[in-house]
């Protein structure tokens, strides 16, 4: 039985993977960044980043440590606001709406643009409460039954429900690393985001847990726009449809993932992905 289920899943996966790369480029654009700069005090961390993020596809940011990929990711849901001395310039628009508009409610924005971090960071609460927290503070559930439904469906979408359904009241921190990361994804999904940002979501996980998360990312992209920062080029090649290469705070090259990994146009991109000394 398992074999059959595995087979069916594989087929679905191959259909997803077979998405024509040019289809991806014709997708509507969800996020647009124009000339985005970030200064931390006197130090400039990003030099005029302009990129379009397509709807319901996975976009990956790659590049060596300190290249600005995480900094840029954090600009997308205004995480840099919380850092003292950080200044963000340029514009980032979600569906044409400036996310740095002073009139915009940042808490609301972060519900629309969720984030998953490198280290799984569940709240020191039960599995149920981890997922229920967001919908509760955003007033998304009218009744306990509503909330139950959101928790269960979020856990299902994160591929975790079957593993935890009998221990929803146990602490989230008691789960394995991979399960904790999926719990964090469930928590992000629970508030009904449109975009999910992932900052090296698998770097603390073993290969099996990584594969499960990658499979999940592949499923999630049917409903969400996903942006992932990863140190693993193989992961970027496996999960994303669009790839952007950052170096020293500049966006060097962006394009269809297949093109970036088989025939990058830029020498610096080439050197980086081929493991050459630049």
């Amino acid at each position: 039985m398992d074999m059959v289920a595995g087979k069916v899943k594989m087929t679905q996966q191959s259909v997803n993977a077979a998405m024509n790369p040019t289809d991806m480029l014709e997708r509507p654009i969800r996020l647009t960044a124009r000339d985005v700069t970030v200064h931390y005090g006197a130090k400039q961390a990003l030099h005029g980043i302009s990129i379009d993020i397509p709807d319901r596809a996975v976009t990956s940011f790659i590049g060596p440590s300190g290249c600005g990929k995480s900094t840029f990711l954090r600009c997308i849901n205004r995480m840099n606001d919380t850092i003292e001395g950080a200044r963000v310039g340029g514009t980032i628009k979600l569906d044409g709406e400036d996310i740095y508009d002073p009139a915009l409610d940042v808490v609301e924005l972060r519900a629309r643009i969720g984030m998953v971090f490198q280290k799984p960071n569940p709240f020191p609460k039960s599995i149920y409460e981890n997922v229920a927290y967001g919908p509760r503070i955003h007033g998304l559930a009218r009744s306990r039954a509503d909330l139950d439904e959101i928790v269960v469906s979020s856990l299902r979408k994160a591929g975790l429900f079957e593993e935890v359904k009998d221990r929803l009241n146990e602490p989230g921190t008691g789960l394995s690393g991979g399960q904790q990361q999926r719990l964090c994804i469930a928590r992000a999904i629970a508030v009904g985001p449109e975009v999910i940002l992932m900052d090296e979501p698998c770097s603390a996980l073993d290969p099996i847990a990584t594969a499960i998360i990658e499979e999940l990312i592949d499923e999630l992209r049917e409903n969400y726009t996903i942006v992932i920062v990863t140190h693993s080029m193989q992961q970027a090649a496996r999960v994303s449809q669009k790839t952007a290469f950052f170096h020293l705070g500049n966006l060097i090259e962006e394009g269809v993932t297949e093109d970036i990994f088989t025939n990058p146009a830029n020498k610096q991109t080439q050197d980086y992905i081929m493991g050459r000394i630049g």
Partner: protein
């Protein structure tokens, strides 16, 4: 040779890429020799050379297996990307084409053994001789285009395949004429027809290698449109 394995942070990866390129170059050299020997055996009915060619084919087959093993191991262990990935995948294809060319050379040698003792007029050989020269040049140029990452030369090889095909067609007609002139020519000329076919196939493999060389350098497949475009540009 261009900087095939240079500058990788992991130097053993460099070494492996260089070794792969060298093995392909070595195999290419052996295949060139096999064609030369095979055709010489045919044209001179040299039994010894024919035997050498037939035995040499085993070595060529071994080299193909070795290149396959090297490539698979590199894909598994190094996760090659971009130009490295293309170099490795191309090596597998080129080795397979070269192995087939080795088989063709072996067939030429085998035919030469069969032709021994038959009454052959020197004129029968003229077309085969010309075709041999052209095909050998095609293989050499294709391998040069490959090892020098020279896409322009690769296109030239592809375009020149028409000449090989035209020569094959005219040789076919010529041999048919000899057969019609005298039924005693039928057996030797049939053997030569098969030889001509083998040569024509070698030409096709040369084209394949040239196409791979183009892909290796540019990352794009050499389509007939590109080929045509280049041809008109050269004419203009």
């Amino acid at each position: 040779m261009p900087n095939i394995g240079k500058d990788h942070i992991v130097s053993s990866y460099n070494d492996e890429l260089v070794a792969l390129a060298q093995t392909i170059a070595e195999m290419g050299g052996q295949v060139e020799v096999a064609i030369e020997n095979g055709t010489k055996a045919l044209l001179k009915l040299d039994r010894e050379l024919a035997d050498v060619t037939i035995i040499a084919d085993q070595r060529i087959d071994d080299m193909q297996r070795r290149i396959d093993d090297m490539a698979v191991s590199m894909i598994a262990r190094r996760q090659p990307m971009a130009a490295d990935l293309r170099a490795i995948v191309t090596a597998i294809h080129v080795a397979s084409d070269l192995e087939r060319v080795g088989d063709m050379a072996k067939q030429l040698a085998r035919r030469s053994l069969k032709l021994e003792g038959m009454s052959l007029q020197p004129t029968f050989y003229n077309g085969v001789k010309n075709m041999t020269a052209l095909v050998l040049r095609q293989i050499k140029e294709a391998l040069d285009a490959y090892s020098n990452r020279d896409s322009a030369r690769a296109i030239e090889v592809c375009n020149r395949d028409d000449e090989v095909d035209a020569m094959h067609t005219s040789l076919f007609r010529e041999l048919l004429t000899y057969m019609m002139e005298d039924p005693r020519n039928i057996t030797p000329c049939t053997h030569l027809l098969f030889c001509a076919k083998s040569l024509e196939r070698i030409g096709d493999h040369a084209t394949n290698i040239a196409e791979r060389a183009y892909y290796l350098q540019t990352g794009k497949q050499l389509t007939s449109e590109v080929q045509e475009l280049q041809r008109t540009q050269i004419k203009a």
